[in-house]
Symmetry: C5
């Protein structure tokens, strides 16, 4: 299905028409046009850029890797870069979602089909009454969906932290697998922060400074979006703090366990070494009292039993065993 839409006076007039028709619609300022490009070629973008008068730099940025979320303000249009995130087999993957916004057209450019643009159009349809705000409305729907993905991730991380906390005081020591899970969680949280933190500036730029898209009706919605972005940032910060707590408690547990092991080791070593010493004494080829006689057997056995018993009780009392 072709991802195109035409709104007029806040009403969805047409949908799914060929991209070629876009140029006809966009010339009429009363129209609001949207279309979507998924993993476009340079040529695809070139023709769109010409149509809508987009700046070369913005078009180039679509193909540059390792971008950061941002808004570039050009004379006649905005270029927005954001990152949608999802987990796959526990690893964080990001999909670049770009948007060109002119006064009456929005072009969304997805890096791959992993980002389901259908979910965005569904949102637009659900909030139909606001559609008369044009591009500002469409852009809000797009960014709201992106930020919600960030939010869901933080929620997921929160659950994982909770799980790790529950394990922390269990008897069994942490396995290599647990360590890996903890490591990956922290790595993923850093990955989220990398693309979520700059969203603050992105949304702030859009709803504060920009005259191009401002409509008073959308203002609270952008403020709400900004609030979501803040929540993601603050929650992530909170999770970092909880992770530090976890990590440091775990380290301290590890030290605690080492001390426990050393005490046990010492205790048992003593309980075994002392009888060995005694039998050594009675194994000497010298005429010690009881050498070769029953009294020797009894004294040796009794000394061994008493020495071991005393040691065992003493260690038990001090809590070493």
């Amino acid at each position: 299905m072709v991802r195109t839409r035409l709104y007029r006076d806040g009403v969805l007039v047409s949908e799914g028409f060929p991209v070629a028709e876009v140029s006809d619609h966009v010339s009429d300022p009363g129209n609001v046009v949207w279309f979507d490009l998924c993993a476009p070629t340079a040529a695809d973008l070139e023709s769109v850029a010409e149509e809508l008068g987009l700046h070369t730099l913005a078009v180039e940025d679509v193909f540059q890797e390792h971008q950061r979320p941002k808004v570039d303000v050009y004379d006649s249009h905005l270029f927005i870069t954001s990152y949608w995130l999802h987990l796959e087999d526990g690893r964080l993957h990001s999909v670049e979602v770009d948007a060109f916004a002119t006064r009456n057209a929005l072009v969304t450019v997805r890096e791959s089909e992993h980002f389901d643009i259908g979910k965005v159009t569904a949102r637009w349809d659900a909030a139909g009454a606001l559609a008369k705000n044009g591009v500002s409305f469409l852009l809000h729907g797009l960014l709201d969906y992106v930020v919600d993905a960030h939010f869901e991730l933080v929620e997921h991380f929160d659950e994982q932290v909770e799980k790790l906390e529950e394990q922390l005081f269990e008897e069994r020591p942490m396995t290599r697998e647990d360590a890996r899970r903890m490591f990956t969680l922290r790595k993923n949280m850093a990955g989220l922060r990398k693309v979520a933190a700059p969203m603050r500036e992105v949304v702030n730029t859009l709803f504060r400074r920009d005259q191009l898209l401002a409509t008073p009706e959308m203002a609270p919605y952008y403020q709400d979006l900004y609030d979501h972005v803040l929540r993601v940032a603050e929650w992530t910060e909170n999770l970092r703090e909880l992770m530090s707590n976890l990590r440091e408690t775990h380290m301290s547990q590890q030290g605690f366990r080492l001390n426990e092991i050393m005490k046990k080791l010492t205790s048992w070593a003593a309980i075994i070494a002392v009888p060995t010493m005694i039998t050594g004494y009675y194994g000497q080829n010298v005429p010690y009292p009881g050498f070769g006689s029953g009294s020797g057997f009894w004294s040796s056995t009794i000394i061994i039993v008493i020495a071991s018993g005393v040691l065992y009780v003493a260690f038990k009392k001090r809590g070493w065993l």
Copy 2:
């Protein structure tokens, strides 16, 4: 009992009247109306929203989880989100307390009955002389109660830190239970910070920027509230520092204890191993001096006693035993 109140010229005129009557009272700007909703349904809120002209976004926010304390400023009303906290079995629980404030009406929305609104009304009654400041006065009473709960928590945490400090230099090493208590305390402090830190911005927004509710007489009271919020923040920060001190001293103690144990282990191992070696010597089936004769018995016994004694004294002197 129905939680409703009607003030006129700073005097409590009526109380406990049905929510249905609210609409009659609220239309008269000389009246100040309050009513409370506890865990309302969407329908409940919908009807209130219509009555008072509340923005859809604000109403939606009541039902969204994982909010952060904030003030949303709409044209005709404010929406305030805050979190009241209490400890249950050592775990921190939060209750969302929202408020819609128009020029002459305050609607409080509690997440559950855990938050005792009766305590708030009691405060209002105690400070009756200020009641003529209308919604500004009522809102102050509400937030003051919420912030006081934060403050009591910090006081409680302070006591717990004090207790942990006292344990730190006791003879007995920290148990698993102590570690868990320390972990939970730090987790709870992070939980408090999460909802207490944004209160700074909330109170600041209310008493600095907002024309809607500003009355000169309430200004010092909001400033006082702001001061409370700051105290919570600074005190929590101070407790964090004390906790780091605790944690790091504890880690260092743990290392200290490990060294002590290792020294003891070494000492006793030597005191046992040396006699064992000597008896081994006298256990050889070769004609060493004293083999099979009394002189052998005496020399063996004397060497063992002297060797052990010398080692014991040497270790005692170096402080290893």
Copy 3:
């Protein structure tokens, strides 16, 4: 002695008169009146508040615990809270020192007699030429004394850090007592920071924004006070850094010592275990070469001496002994 003073045109006219006379003097704007309350009752303060027209909130704050240093600006007066600190048996104690400042009256309210107000009056007398600046002059003297106490504490802490540094590289390992001293020092530094850091804002508010007390002649003195406050803050920060250095070096020393002990342990264990193994061999009831003959004795003895000697020299060479 009653703590009251009356200045007129910068001259100390009367001193030690009953508090009851204050109301007569204060009504004349040409007079500057000071009096001191130590641990006053609510009734005491109530009557003063009425006399001087103090705000209820300010009066309430005197009795609230866990305040933070601050200036509250009311229409006709200022309320200043600060904390004087002193060490007792190595523990930090704070005494709340409040002040109400109107245009021509200063009321100082001390929490206890630990704070010696006589030292403040002595300062006032020493700087007599500035007395014509009225309340601004008196307040400066008070705060200067409070901040000097903070400063003396930092100096004291600096000496303690220096002492700990000297101990760091001594032979003997840190005792439990040293650990406690380090812990307490850090705790005290946190306690100082808690009440010293907000003084920046207090002094800043007084000498920048406030019209009530501003006199050009006092300006450099308040700036000087501000500079003292900054010095306390910066020096404390510097001490924190030195403490981290201390703590981390100490941790690393501890690890170093553990390694040393482990090496010694290993070395001696080997030196004892090898002869034991050899005597074990010669203790077997099998006809090994030299069994029951003098050659066996000599070979056993020689092997033991050589093995032990070689091990001892080898370990000595590697620096393990």
Copy 4:
């Protein structure tokens, strides 16, 4: 080849002419002149400075070591210092790249030939259409190349961090070589941050405040450059976080391994020590049950096998072996 260029109306008119001709061209404000100095002597620079009226301080700065990236704004010219970075045998090396920019002349001063100015001229030629923006265009090309080098380094560091992460959970413990690699990586990252962080201010100064070179057409290009600089900074920050994660996980692994080793040690020590104790018992020269008879042999052997077996199974069950 002499590195000189003359542009007129955005067209490259002449190239490679002797530096001596520069003075003729530069006097005509319609011309834009560039020339390059590689590791110049003081005399070289002196003559250029006189020609173009450069400030003594700027000229001196070229020869001072340990500079930081900066823009110095003089009345008639700018002096820009930046650092180009490259890795050689894993070590980070920096090459100082300075530039004097007057209204119609750019002088680039390279510390050494390591910085390939040919790459910069190639960039200028590739973006020929912008050449009519004169010095602003030329300077952008230069800085863009420098910042790209920073960017490539971060990408390289990212790959190295990724590799280290993969090794983290491999069976084999980290070798000294791995530790060194980790150490060098972190050192290099600090080295990059040292010269990349101040670039923010450099680019910001150029595209915000400076009237000298401002052309509206270049504005988006400088903004794009600024964005690159930000990306370098944010990515480096992100890598630091990942490195902390790595380092702390590694430390925790190390503790984990130590515990594992201690457990194994304890277990095997017990499994060996217990039979030794039993044989000691049967080696005594006293008439224990079975002394000198077959029953003794059997009971000794059976006890040894059972004791060892029981210990082995017990330790296996607890996961110590």
Copy 5:
């Protein structure tokens, strides 16, 4: 030699005249007078203060210890405090260097002769052409010399960090002496930061806000000085990061070494303990197979050799030996 100078119209007119003549020269606004006081008495300063109309507070500050670098702006003069640093036997020492600057007079006050004022006058002479800028020129020369001392220290610290880095991966473990060197280096770096960080504000205040001394010609020189101060700050920060890297890598090495030692310990313990157990078996006084016969000797010897060999190879393979 008396340290006095008289400039007129940027020319050094007279030098080394008695301080008593200063008052004659200073009254003529066309003159610029400098004189130096080294470790002056209170009386010395008193008379100078009277002559030049200096504020009492500024004069008092000269004698107060534990100052911080600062500029105090008085109506007719500035008071500048800075600290010159030098290393003696590896310890950092600071010398307070104060300056009073009026419109046409500069008084420098050194704490001790360690600060060589001759180096400052030499700088003044070297930059003679700027002397017509009067006090602004003289003050710049003074501060430039102070900041250069800071800069040289950072360079020295950088070299020391480099040296420590080289040692880090050497075979031999860190000695107590190395630890002390590391500790002292970090302490010295904190000492430098203490007096270097506030210089930013000092220089900033002088070249931005101050009308008293401003001359357009000196502006780039003060900006250059500010740049030096920034470099010191940034470089110190960079060194801190490198030190953390060093310290943490060192800690990790220590843990690594402990693990290595433990493995070796375990391995050798096993290689010795197993033969001991076997000889114990053959030492039993029970008729085991081979008891008292040649076959016993051979079987015992062969089992011992094989067991030890197998263990040695096994441990070698796992890299424990």
